[in-house]
């Protein structure tokens, strides 16, 4: 057995330090990361079903009706959400999810109905509680209009249809 040259020794030491040790570190990271908790997944296409008459009574009833029985696409990045109404308007809003609680707003600037007192500054607010244990992910909550005492508040249930949101452009 010949002696290892200084250049080879440096190479072996450098290889252990720069390749071997980091790989051990990777194993440690993968183990410790298993305990991390990420926000509940709500990404995908949701079918909204609202309770009560259609359109709802009160101001902005027609605007709220456009969400009734429609599909809503939720795109999720961590706790941040982007909602797109698939009711022909492609209106988009934003929201957040904290634990099982979802809150989102969708501006009605797209709404062409020009209901009195329900102008382009009106914002529809969605709040819901997500049931993470349901076999098909579901949520229930309320839809209301901001700063409008005479507007209706509508209860709704929603069921996730698919998780196709991320694979599409836009």
């Amino acid at each position: 057995m010949g002696r290892i040259s200084p250049a080879n020794r440096t190479f072996v030491v450098a290889y252990i330090l720069l390749v071997g040790l980091p790989l051990l570190g990777l194993v440690g990271v993968l183990r410790s990361g298993r305990g991390l908790v990420a926000p509940i997944s709500v990404d995908g296409v949701w079918k909204f079903v609202t309770d009560g008459p259609n359109p709802p009574a009160g101001m902005c009833g027609k605007s709220l009706a456009s969400i009734q029985d429609s599909l809503v696409t939720i795109s999720q990045s961590g706790s941040r959400l982007t909602l797109t109404l698939n009711n022909g308007s492609t209106a988009t809003g934003s929201g957040v999810i904290e634990r099982t609680s979802l809150n989102a707003t969708v501006p009605l600037s797209w709404q062409p109905m020009n209901e009195p007192g329900c102008g382009s500054n009106t914002v529809v607010m969605l709040s819901a509680t997500v049931n993470p244990k349901a076999e098909a992910r579901a949520m229930q909550g309320t839809i209301s209009v901001n700063d409008c005492a005479s507007c209706s508040t509508v209860n709704y249930q929603a069921l996730r249809q698919t998780r196709s949101g991320r694979s599409e452009a836009h």
């Binding site: 990777l26 990271v29 993968l30 410790s32 990045s77 706790s79 492609t90 694979s167 452009a169």
Partner: protein, 432 residues
């Protein structure tokens, strides 16, 4: 049925914007691919849909995007075949310790740093439908990739392909790409196995059997292409069609096995004969339509999925900055440190690190796969696209600062040189 008017209009607009922006970036002494990547982002929600939403809806209605995606995927399948064709891991032989250490560290350093960053980003940018292991491994693979064709082109422009820096960089990039795609194939298999009724051992077994058949069986048959080319000086249209058919068949096999179309195309390219003139001939036949038409469609489709508007607030930009920092420190710093420890001069080592930090189109390909299999969120996708742009953009000016003196050319050899030389033929067909 696709709306042909819309589809043709889309292709025309994409080609014009990519040529114009790519040309402007050439004036900035940047590879055209950086400009084309940027052009794609301009056509998406980050700019066009933001400033002219009605025109954007007219030009890119959601119902039309499936056809655009199909075209771009065909382009990427052929492109991955060409990337595989251009790389030759045998180049690593004879490069000594510097190349071995630098190539391995340029994978492990960004991979491990990215997995550490994943500990921070997972609770913030992912959700509980993605396992942490998949998230961390994907981040590692995405950050450790190098854009082999861009690297070869930059070296060719600097007459540095035959230099020590050039040969080591080419060898490292070849090893990086092969390793990176193997790791990515494994990760995609893991992710898809969760939802697949087929046991993972069966999927992995199938992939190994396929790879063995390709490397030890099909590879021998592929030599006939080179033999016929050497005898006749060209390949008939039927033989070129057969080659394309083999690319598609290999791509379909890997897709059916549960990984992705692109792995099959890449593998077939990697096992093709590597004789320099043969490689150049095949590249010449396939590259023009792929690079000038199909790749811009891919850039546009990627741009349509990239929404910088999702990066709302300082917090999101901090995440983006961290991603760029970790990617650069891991790739540039890791390669530089390794090659310096292995005996390269500091300036040369820094040059190697800078070259290895080039990600380009290869990064976009990986990110699109990640978004398709839902291992990364739209906001993280946008941040990673920005990282790919920044790290590719910084390569030329950094290299100019580190190695300002043109290195004397030597006689280059090897298949990858053909890639670069072909890229040099015309700025219009620069390899991505």
């Amino acid at each position: 049925m696709p709306n042909l008017f819309t589809l043709v209009l889309q292709i025309a607009v994409i080609l014009v914007v990519c040529r114009v922006v790519g040309g402007l970036f050439r004036l900035l002494r940047q590879p055209r691919v950086v400009g084309e990547m940027f052009a794609g982002i301009l056509l998406g929600p980050s700019l066009l849909a933001w400033v002219a939403p009605h025109f954007s809806d007219y030009l890119f209605p959601p119902s039309s995007l499936g056809y655009l995606n199909a075209f771009s995927q065909v382009g990427i399948v052929i492109f991955m075949f060409l990337v595989g064709l251009g790389i030759n891991p045998r180049e690593l032989k004879g490069q000594g310790h510097a190349a071995v250490l630098a190539s391995h560290v340029s994978i492990t350093a960004p991979f491990v740093l990215a997995s550490f960053l994943a500990l921070y980003l997972y609770p913030r940018l992912s959700d509980d439908s993605v396992a942490f292991t998949h998230f961390a491994l994907f981040m590692g693979a995405a950050m450790s990739i190098t854009a082999f064709p861009v690297l070869a082109r930059i070296l060719a422009e600097r007459n540095a392909l035959g230099s020590r820096l050039g040969t080591v960089a080419i060898a490292c990039a070849a090893v990086d790409d092969i390793t990176g795609w193997c790791i990515l194939a494994y990760i995609v298999t893991l992710i898809r196995a969760v939802k697949s009724p087929t046991p993972i051992w069966m999927t992995l077994g199938g992939i190994i059997v396929f790879a063995v058949i390709m490397i030890y069986g099909v590879r021998r048959l592929l030599r006939w292409f080179e033999i016929i080319y050497t005898e006749r000086g060209s390949l008939s249209e039927n033989l070129m069609a057969l080659m394309l058919l083999l690319v598609l068949a290999s791509a379909l096999c890997t897709e059916a096995l549960g990984i992705h179309l692109l792995f099959g195309a890449f593998l077939l390219g990697a096992i093709m004969p590597k004789e320099r003139h043969f490689v150049r001939y095949v590249l010449d036949r396939f590259e023009t339509i792929t690079v000038t038409m199909l790749l811009p469609l891919f850039f546009a489709f990627t741009g349509l999925r990239t929404n910088i508007g999702l990066l709302k607030g300082a917090e999101m930009w901090v995440y983006c900055g961290l991603i760029i920092l970790v990617a650069t420190v891991g790739k540039l710093g890791g390669s530089m440190l390794a090659s310096w420890l292995a005996g390269m001069g500091l300036r040369e080592a820094a040059g190697l690190g800078t070259l290895m930090n080039t990600r380009g189109l290869m990064e976009l390909v990986i990110l699109n796969i990640g978004l398709d299999v839902k291992v990364i969120s739209p906001a993280l996708f946008s941040m990673m696209v920005l990282m790919a742009l920044v790290t590719t953009f910084m390569t030329t000016p950094l290299l100019n600062a580190i190695c300002p003196i043109r290195i004397a050319p030597k006689e280059p050899a090897g298949a990858e040189v053909a890639v670069a030389q072909l890229s040099m033929k015309s700025t219009d067909t620069s390899a991505a």
